[in-house]
């Protein structure tokens, strides 16, 4: 069975913590960090291993701060 595994990389300093990505993610991968970036925003981060690399989060991110990777296992 083809299995995919994805991962996201967040441009922390450009994230504004709007949380739109959280709603868009079908696998509940993203949460806001307890830490803040240089502008004082809690930034998005991946909190588990469930990413499927669908890029939904990146597509709705108004600031284009998410880069998405995917491998077939």
């Amino acid at each position: 069975m083809a299995k995919v595994k994805g991962d996201i990389v967040v441009d922390i300093e450009k994230c504004k913590g709007c949380e739109v990505c959280i709603t868009a993610c079908p696998s509940d991968v993203i949460a806001m960090s307890k830490n803040v970036n240089g502008k004082g925003y809690h930034y998005a981060e991946s909190v588990n291993e469930d990413c499927i690399g669908c890029a939904n989060c990146a597509i709705v991110c108004p600031d284009g701060v998410i880069t998405v990777y995917k491998v077939k296992l």
């Binding site: 739109v20 709705v60 995917k70």
Partner: protein
């Protein structure tokens, strides 16, 4: 390959599925957190990238929150006086008919102070594309009522809600200009969910393709949020938009191939 794979192994260039287009500059966008303007900018730039038209496109920035669009869109741009983007786009396109020319305008810009320019550019059937961001409010100046503000919707100049008896009805300018023979393609989309973003991108692509074929004016409305002006969180504003804006401004094609959809 074994199932155990580290994040480092996944994050390799050959596994890349999505990254921000190089047609957006690296400047941090000046928009509020969660504002649809940023997503709309990115979609338009992705389409221009797909068309390999970075040096073949001229954009016209408006007055409004997106007044600085030329700082973010990595293409040739001009910035017009408030509401005058379609007039400026007309001049640019007539002087350089081989270029893709588009305007990017808010609802205050396009449907209030720029109503005359909008209607006449549409009626003349200029071969330009208009990207219209309708957030139902004047975002930049502090959330005043716009022609597009919904009945009973609160804004800073109608704090008890828009009373249509004294303040007039909201203007569905998109349906209005769709009646004009010079207008070839009119659609209304949104950018708050992945599905909507994909549809909007297809619509923008279609508009640019039709412009290349000199079909007349193409018009893509994007119903968007202004969470700051609406005084909500970004996620709340997207929900409010679905529940309140979409019933009044229904998504979908309004005119295709010069024919109104009924």
């Amino acid at each position: 390959m074994s199932d155990i794979i580290t994040k480092e192994q996944i994050r390799q260039p050959e596994n890349l599925v999505y990254s921000k287009t190089k047609l957006l500059t690296d400047k941090a966008l000046s928009y509020c957190p969660g504002c649809g303007h940023g997503t709309a900018h990115r979609i338009v730039m992705e389409v221009i990238e797909e068309l390999s038209a970075q040096s073949e496109t001229i954009g016209i920035a408006p007055v409004g929150c997106s007044v600085l669009a030329y700082e973010f869109m990595n293409i040739d741009m001009q910035q017009a006086a408030h509401g005058r983007a379609p007039a400026l786009a007309t001049a640019v396109k007539r002087l350089m008919p081989e270029k893709y020319v588009f305007t990017y305008q808010g609802d205050g810009d396009l449907a209030a102070i720029g109503t005359a320019e909008t209607i006449h550019a549409c009626n003349r059937g200029e071969n330009i594309t208009i990207i219209f961001i309708n957030n139902g409010i004047y975002g930049m100046t502090g959330g005043q009522m716009a022609p597009t503000t919904l009945p009973n919707m609160k804004a800073s100049t109608c704090p008890y809600g828009r009373d249509v008896a004294t303040m007039g009805n909201p203007l569905k300018i998109t349906e209005l200009i769709a009646q004009l023979p010079g207008v070839h393609y009119v659609t209304r989309q949104a950018v708050h969910t992945p599905g909507n973003v994909r549809k909007t991108k297809k619509a923008v692509r279609k508009a640019f393709d039709l412009q290349k074929e000199n079909k007349g004016l193409t018009f893509v409305e994007i119903v968007s949020n202004c969470n700051s002006g609406w005084k909500m969180t970004p996620v709340q504003s997207n929900k409010w938009m679905e529940e309140n804006m979409f019933p009044f401004y229904p998504l979908g094609d309004i005119k295709v191939d010069g024919q109104l959809i009924k």
